[in-house]
Symmetry: C2
Subunit: 235 residues, 2 copies
């Protein structure tokens, strides 16, 4: 009899644990899809981990005057820029997962020198993390202002955010449009967006991406083709 | 009465669901720590995702005779080799998460040409995924054999697996030792391992890594210092 009661107690405990655990996972899931965890993600990403390591690696090889800088997130990071433009000194300053605020926090690494040109693309991770559209736009414009003011010798190219899965279409297009309309004189806008769209005009073409976000080799070769003349002229 | 019965049914359903869900997560956890999921991880990693994209990007910029190739996983990938060795044409052929079998599957990308030198480091992810020690050793030796046989013009440097968290110490040291003892003539072993150990001699020094696996800028500068003369001589 005593053993039976004990067993019942254990079962009850298990059931309560299971329910609590399921509820916990469910709440976590709700917080995730509502975007409420975005600042947690960004915080965890920025403190320690890959971001901190990359900034430390960049510090170990400072940019010199005249270099060509590629600045952004994983899409920039994935580019073999030194191999795409063998006759230029290129600096890959992309960090996987980086956001506009992450980039603002490391902008001093770029502003210490006078690169010949900067090819900037940032913002797609902000959208994923649920950062408000206007905040993304303001951050991109602030980055451009800070870069422009720190070096008059540097030619700045803003590259549009690329298409990704169709559910991001409206936000990507809205941010690209708003930034483009407010771009300061002297900054050149490079509209990569249409080159990577699929035939329906809603998502990134599967010929250029296997995860609806990052580029494969064919994607990078198109990107290289679009900016080649600019790198040569301003590199 | 009917409503009460229905409610009881719903509760019962919820409890059963919770229990099953918890059991599922628990079994997944057990499979994970037992290493039984390792081939699933490697499979998922290799098909689609980052590995496939990286291979595609490497295909878009083939290695040329005389290049210096850095071959490996995320630890190689993280190195800004083109910036560390500005006067050489370097090729970063590291892919985050790659394993000895992943590298074997893409070795044709290296073997198509005659690089002046190859700096190889691979195996730490195999250990993490629970691949058997002897299999890792055989794979590394096979990689070296295939590289040696494809090009007599290429100088091959095998770099030891770096220390990571202390629980990996014995396996890392055993693999490094076994490979070193069986290294073919003509292949140079570069013992990076002791340079990155902490003061207790059991784990990677926190001065060089913020996640007990990947290197920061100071870590890469030490690595560069160790191989600099070799890159200059054989680059």
């Amino acid at each position: 009899m005593g053993a039976k009661v004990q067993l019942a107690e254990v079962s009850k405990g298990l059931v309560i644990f299971s329910c609590c655990f399921t509820a916990f996972i469910f709440i976590l899931f709700l917080l995730h899809i509502s975007g409420a965890l975005s600042s947690v993600y960004v915080g965890v990403f920025n403190k320690g981990g890959k971001y901190e390591r990359a900034v430390s690696i960049f510090d170990s090889v400072p940019i010199k005057n005249g270099d060509v800088v590629f600045l952004g997130d994983s899409i920039t990071e994935g580019g073999a820029w030194d191999e795409f433009f063998e006759n230029r000194v290129t600096r890959n300053r992309g960090i996987g997962g980086d956001t506009t605020s992450g980039l603002l926090a490391r902008l001093h690494q770029i502003n210490r020198s006078e690169p010949s040109s900067i090819f900037l693309m940032i913002g797609t991770n902000d959208i994923y993390f649920g950062v408000a559209e206007d905040e993304i736009v303001e951050n991109i414009l602030t980055i451009i202002d800070l870069l422009s003011n720190s070096s008059k010798e540097t030619k700045i190219f803003l590259q549009s955010i690329l298409p990704r899965a169709s559910k991001y279409k409206d936000r990507v297009e809205a941010i690209n449009k708003k930034v483009r309309e407010r771009l300061p004189l002297g900054v050149t806008y490079i509209d990569l967006y249409p080159h990577f769209l699929d035939e329906h005009g809603v998502a990134i073409d599967t010929r250029f991406s296997n995860d609806a976000l990052h580029l494969n080799g064919d994607g990078y070769l198109i990107w290289r083709e679009i900016i080649k003349a600019l790198v040569v002229e301003h590199g």
